[in-house]
């Protein structure tokens, strides 16, 4: 078992906490190359998602992820709302009916989620979006070696930082063309938080 309902809930709560803390940072990143609302959007949505799952106790990872998905879809708006919403919706479908899952099932869920993101946003790696973090993070999860939380986090971190060098081809930053170079993509930064928090949680004991 790498993930169960209890850990998944912890993941969402802790991710929400980090987003609240880094709301200003994410917004600042978005002010540089977007419209300056990424932190505001995610802070609003993840707070609601955390509230929503607190109100319930889950026996089913799929149900938990579905509540997160629906809340994000209904509360975030902008580009990141449908994207994160779609990702959690795919997780919920992959993990439906399971209380806990092994590494393979986890990787499968995230692969589906990544497919969902690509289908919804039509971005490719290199377009300077959250995909630039999702693609390598999901590849690492699905890889051969042992699953190491710190490595997962560091893959995500490196790729997040790598978006700095890229020219945006999708999302609002694409309007800047070359001027988008030199800034970290806000969605890549929030996706890094998502994976690094997941990495922490799967590395912890049953009820840390």
């Amino acid at each position: 078992m790498v993930l169960d309902v209890e850990k998944a809930a912890r993941w969402i709560h802790r991710l929400n906490g980090k987003i609240q803390e880094q709301k200003q940072y994410l917004t600042d990143l978005d002010q540089a190359i977007g419209d300056g609302d990424h932190g505001i959007n995610l802070a609003r949505g993840f707070q609601e998602a955390a509230n929503a799952i607190s109100a319930n106790s889950y026996q089913d990872l799929g149900a938990l992820c579905k509540d997160v998905a629906m809340t994000l879809i209904g509360k975030v708006g902008g580009a990141s709302g449908p994207l994160y919403g779609t990702a959690f919706m795919k997780l919920s479908m992959a993990w439906k009916g399971q209380k806990e899952i092994d590494r393979e099932a986890m990787a499968k869920g995230f692969k589906d989620a990544l497919e969902g993101l690509k289908m919804r946003g039509k971005a490719q790696p290199g377009d300077k979006t959250m995909i630039d973090v999702w693609e390598p993070a999901v590849a690492y999860m699905a890889g051969e070696g042992p699953l190491n939380g710190e490595e997962l986090a560091s893959v995500a971190k490196e790729k997040m930082e790598g978006t700095k060098e890229l020219e945006a081809k999708k999302g609002r930053a694409a309007y800047l063309g070359k001027r988008s170079i030199g800034h970290i993509d806000p969605g890549a930064a929030s996706s890094y938080l998502l994976f690094s928090t997941l990495a922490e949680v799967i590395g912890e004991g049953e009820s840390a």
Binding site: T27, Q31, G34, D35, G36, D37, I40, N41, R44, I73, G74, K75, V76, G77, G78, A79, S80, G81, P82, L83, G85, R120, G121, D127, A168, K169, K170, G171, R172, A174, Y175, L176, G177, R179
Partner: protein
């Protein structure tokens, strides 16, 4: 941040309440949503028109509710696309069985949220068509990535598709009219000052005391260049040239002109811009059928303007001239 507000997190909610209080006989709010609809929606035998997007562009879009224009406007958070559930409620509320057209400005967020709503509505058996407005010629090579942005030209789409729908046209016909506008409308804007999203509390970008940004988007997205501020005539020339280049207008062509204020610019200045735009068009023997000067698609309190030209044929002329009872676009 100096604003006439109570709470930065409640501006959209309170704006909606203020609009409903202002026009109780013309619009109503769908309970529990940020959707405003024509009082008499759904109008029987008429295709429903839904638009919307982030708030902060008032009178876009709720100001265009009314006979001859929109049936529903979905209000997102400031500069943030509304969510699919809200758009879905709008679609359901205006469908009379003839189908619903979604008029979307070309931003990734808007497209994804409206698309998800359309999928939800189609799953319920509602006929939905979508058009994406991309009139902003400022950032060219974005055509190969996300495409051009949608800005003030959207208002002409509302007007003309609205007139078509009011005549009882089918969803396909209304969609075709909207697409024809989109093919023939081009805009470009510039800004003298930034604006402050209430929840952010500080400007989205900086412009020096003598700087302006040419090609600025309506959310403060940067444009072509940041330059020293220039006289109004030169600005008008730059914007109009860029549009004319793209729209390939020739002698005897007929256009509608919109000189749109971004929210913080006095009407006086918009007329000064129009003076030059009209002169340029006259110099090229392009006929000006009608001119609209005012705040149509704003960016909170940003100072600046955009110029829009719509190339008209007989059908578009007639639909543009048709009666409209919309709050901010009476004809």
């Amino acid at each position: 941040m100096k604003k006439l507000i109570n709470n930065p997190d409640r501006v959209v909610e309170e704006m909606i309440e203020g609009m409903v209080a202002a026009y109780p006989n013309r619009i109503r709010r769908l309970p529990g949503t940020t959707v405003l609809v024509r009082k008499d929606a759904p109008v029987q035998g008429k295709v429903g028109l839904v638009s919307g997007g982030g708030s902060g562009h008032e009178p876009s879009h709720a100001g265009y509710l009314g006979k001859g224009m929109l049936d529903a406007a979905v209000c997102g958070e400031v500069f943030t696309s509304p969510t699919p559930d809200q758009v879905y409620e709008a679609i359901k509320a205006v469908d009379s069985g003839k189908g619903v057209l979604l008029i979307i400005k070309n931003y990734t967020g808007d497209i994804m949220n409206f698309e998800m709503a359309a999928e939800m509505a189609e799953a319920e058996g509602i006929k939905v068509a979508k058009v994406v407005v991309n009139d902003d010629v400022a950032v060219e090579n974005s055509t190969y990535t996300t495409g051009r942005r949608g800005i003030a030209g959207t208002v002409f789409v509302h007007k003309i598709a609205g007139a078509m729908a009011e005549r009882g046209a089918s969803l396909e016909e209304v969609e075709a009219a909207a697409k024809k506008v989109i093919e023939n409308v081009r805009s470009m804007g510039m800004a003298l000052t930034p604006c402050i999203v209430p929840a952010a509390g500080k400007p989205g970008f900086e412009l020096g005391e003598k700087e302006m940004e040419i090609g600025m988007g309506i959310h403060g997205e940067p444009g072509i260049e940041k330059t020293e501020i220039r006289p109004a005539d030169e600005i008008a020339q730059t914007l109009t040239d860029k549009i004319l280049d793209d729209l390939k207008l020739g002698e005897k062509d007929k256009v509608a002109v919109m000189i749109n204020g971004l929210g913080g610019t006095p009407l006086m200045e918009l007329y000064i811009i129009n003076r030059k735009v009209a002169e340029i068009l006259k110099g090229k023997n392009i006929e000006i059928h009608d001119t609209f000067v005012g705040n149509y698609m704003t960016s909170l309190e940003m100072a600046g303007c955009s110029v829009t030209l719509l190339k008209l044929d007989e059908q578009l002329t007639e639909l543009l001239d048709a009666e409209s009872d919309a709050i901010a676009f009476k004809r």
